[in-house]
């Protein structure tokens, strides 16, 4: 391959914590927090993994229609999510469960989408965490437009930390091939929008390896669009936190976009409907298991003496309690009523849709047992008949 492809040359990777749990110095990036903060990262990562495992179990038990696991990506998500300021706004894909956790989104809200009781039922303005977007890459344009609005609001480059804000848009290696992502790069660059493009390169877009999406390291794409790109070890929460903090500050100060490529690995399947044994080798998973983001943090905390047995046991207990609570409340999520949904199609309801709703209500009323409970009871009975 020629140099023109951009594939040659040493690939830089920002790493502040080795897979063995040893701290590293980096000439440009450093983690400024203390071990208490690192312990809180550890806690967030363990809780995220536990919620994720519980959701997978709920899907296997028929309680969710689907789940998109973030197993293995906890450092990328907690590292970036915890770097966010109080005013920064997030546009996620559908896998940012750890980022959601950092912003205080109740995990049960995330499960609602996958259980099929809503289409993303949280208050995105309250949490500064937009609804999950499933069409790949579309949200990067929303993030860019939102950032253009932030700039028009005069909330960039004032130097006042209580005013300045940034936007972060998440996407994956597969999305990097989408037109929308490339258009988002162009708009953000052209208007110098206060945005961080955060790419979790987890190596796989369902069954397609990163080599199918790009012949060059993804972070280098940024230079072609006129803004900086950096690759960080996505399984190193300290490096991710440091790089995201810097990129967010850059955006808030009015210096424009940054692309962060968090180099990580999707340790689970694409979703619960996927079977990765059909397209990747077990050896690869084993290779990445040695780089596990949680294990390396645990090794560091043990090495430094900051984390003792009691701390790790407490986090485990908290995780188990959280999982049980999430499960209970997930199972209690009420089904929506189709009749109610007619009212949400438009801000200003149309007479036509009101008529359609009324006709449907009348139709429902023509049955003897019309209670929503009555109609719902029919479904489990049918499902049971299949077993």
């Amino acid at each position: 391959m020629s140099d023109a492809s951009g594939a040659s040359g040493e690939v830089e990777l920002v790493q502040l914590l080795t897979p063995e749990g040893e701290r590293l110095e980096h000439p440009e990036y450093s983690f400024g927090g203390d071990d208490d903060q690192i312990k809180s990262f550890y806690r967030d990562m363990v809780l995220t993994r536990r919620i994720d495992a519980e959701a997978t179990a709920l899907q296997r038990q028929g309680e969710l229609g689907l789940w998109a696991s973030c197993l293995g990506q906890e450092a990328a998500q907690i590292g970036s999510g915890r770097a966010l300021g109080k005013r920064d706004f997030v546009f996620p894909t559908y896998r940012e469960h750890g980022v959601a956790w950092c912003l205080g989104v109740d995990p049960v809200h995330l499960l609602g989408l996958f259980r099929g009781v809503d289409l993303g039922g949280w208050d995105s303005q309250r949490y500064r965490f937009h609804l999950y977007t499933i069409v790949i890459g579309a949200q990067t344009l929303h993030a860019t437009g939102y950032a253009m609005g932030v700039e028009r609001d005069g909330l960039v480059g004032t130097g006042d930390p209580d005013r300045d804000m940034a936007v972060i848009g998440y996407f994956g290696d597969g999305a990097s091939s989408e037109g929308d992502v490339n258009e988002a790069f162009i708009f953000a660059s052209s208007y110098n929008a206060p945005i961080v493009f955060f790419c979790q390169n987890n190596q796989w877009a369902i069954s397609e390896p990163i080599e199918r999406q790009s012949r060059i390291p993804l972070y280098r794409r940024a230079s072609g669009f006129g803004f900086p790109g950096v690759r960080v070890d996505g399984n190193d929460v300290l490096a991710v936190h440091a790089a995201t903090t810097r990129a967010l500050e850059r955006a808030r100060s009015g210096s424009g976009p940054t692309l962060i490529e968090a180099y990580t690995y999707r340790m689970g399947a694409h979703t619960t409907s996927d079977d990765p044994t059909k397209y990747r080798l077990a050896d690869e998973l084993e290779h990445w298991r040695l780089k596990d983001p949680i294990e390396r943090l645990k090794a560091y905390l043990r090495r430094s003496g900051s984390g003792d047995d009691a701390f790790f046991a407490d986090v485990e207990t908290e995780a188990s309690d959280l999982a049980a609570d999430v499960r209970t409340r997930c199972l209690a999520l009420p089904d929506p009523h189709l009749l109610d949904l007619f009212d949400y199609v438009y801000a200003e309801q149309t007479p036509y849709l009101n008529e359609q709703k009324a006709t449907y209500a009348e139709y429902l009323g023509s049955f003897e047992d019309t209670s929503p409970a009555g109609s719902r009871q029919a479904q489990p009975a049918f499902a049971e008949s299949l077993h």
């Binding site: 289409l119 437009g145 253009m148 849709l353």
Partner: protein, 324 residues
């Protein structure tokens, strides 16, 4: 009262919207210094600045997608898609993103977004510059679709669309951009989602919109010479349809011909025919007949006059309707 072309009337309406609400922004290709390829936004960037009248990179999905983001931030973006045939790269952002956010969020996220699209043929353009894509958007829950047929409606409807909290496809009949009419800038407009009888009559109802209203009115004039009194309805709103005006007319005339440039198959005429048959069955003296573009791709411009519904094709179906 001022005599204005439709392009100037739209310009005046946009200007008034920009003045009325600082959250209104305009974005699109060449909308700034050039004032748009049809000059609809002429002078607006000069007077309101580059932050409010935004020259966009050449990327339709990007234009609409970033407008969705700006709307989420509290802005009221008005996007211009340069020509009808260029809207399809933005299809996902329109039908999957903008159209569904209010529904997905159970009403928490309004989407005050207007997408202006010059549409329709008749100007001798090269391909992809003469299309009528309205049915795609009417088929999408969450979107509203309106179209103006004259300068006065253009002036008011664009302001009403910008004031709406729903995403609206605003279709502008480009072959009527330069036709003049009086605009009463101090008047009171009818509601945005309302159809209007633009010529009362008793024998046959013509239902059209946008560029076809002039054709329908011309056809009504010609029919009058033969002693047939045609009623002409300008739908103005394509989604939602204002069926009350149509039903009242058909109950009076018993005969109806729908007229649009867009292809026949599953076009607006099909939906109108279905609803008229449901709501006016006992009034009908003849089946609902449809004049439309043929079910071919838009043809080379040298034969577009044969493709586009014209006075004779409308009168042909009027005669067929009267023959029942």
């Amino acid at each position: 009262m001022t005599m204005l072309t439709m392009a100037k009337a739209l310009n005046a309406g946009l200007r008034r919207a920009l003045e009325a609400d600082p959250q209104v922004v305009i974005a699109g290709e060449d909308v700034g210094k050039l004032g748009g390829v049809f000059r609809v936004t002429e002078g607006l960037q000069k007077d309101f600045g580059e932050h409010r009248v935004i020259d966009s990179p050449l990327a339709e999905s990007g234009i609409v997608g970033t407008a969705v983001g700006m709307a989420l931030r509290g802005y009221r973006p008005v996007c211009e898609i340069q020509f009808d045939g260029f809207v399809f790269p933005a299809f996902d952002q329109i039908v999957t993103q903008a159209a569904k956010l209010h529904f997905r969020s159970r009403g928490l996220l309004p989407m005050p977004l207007v997408i202006r699209i010059p549409y329709g043929g008749g100007i001798g353009a090269v391909e992809h510059h003469s299309e009528s894509p309205e049915a795609y958007f009417c088929h999408t829950p969450g979107l509203k679709v309106v179209t103006c047929s004259n300068p006065a409606d253009a002036y008011w409807m664009i302001q009403q669309a910008i004031a709406s909290d729903d995403p609206i496809i605003f279709l502008e009949p480009k072959r009527r951009y330069h036709e003049r009419a009086e605009v009463d800038e101090k008047g009171t407009p009818p509601p945005l989602y309302s159809a209007r009888v633009v010529r009362p009559g008793t024998d046959v109802t013509l239902v059209g919109y946008g560029p076809m209203i002039k054709i329908c009115l011309d056809a009504a004039e010609a029919a009058a010479e033969d002693g047939h009194d045609l009623e002409v309805i300008d739908l103005r709103t394509l989604s939602p349809l204002d069926m009350a005006v149509v039903v009242e007319s058909v109950q009076k005339t018993g005969r109806v011909v729908t007229v649009h440039e867009a292809q026949l198959n599953l076009g607006l005429g099909a939906e109108l025919a279905a609803r008229i048959s449901e709501q006016c069955f006992y009034s009908l003296e003849a089946p609902v007949l449809r004049v439309a573009g043929f079910d071919t791709p838009y043809p080379p411009s040298r034969v577009e006059e044969d493709y586009l519904p014209d006075l004779d094709r409308v009168l042909d179906l009027v005669d067929r309707s009267l023959a029942y």
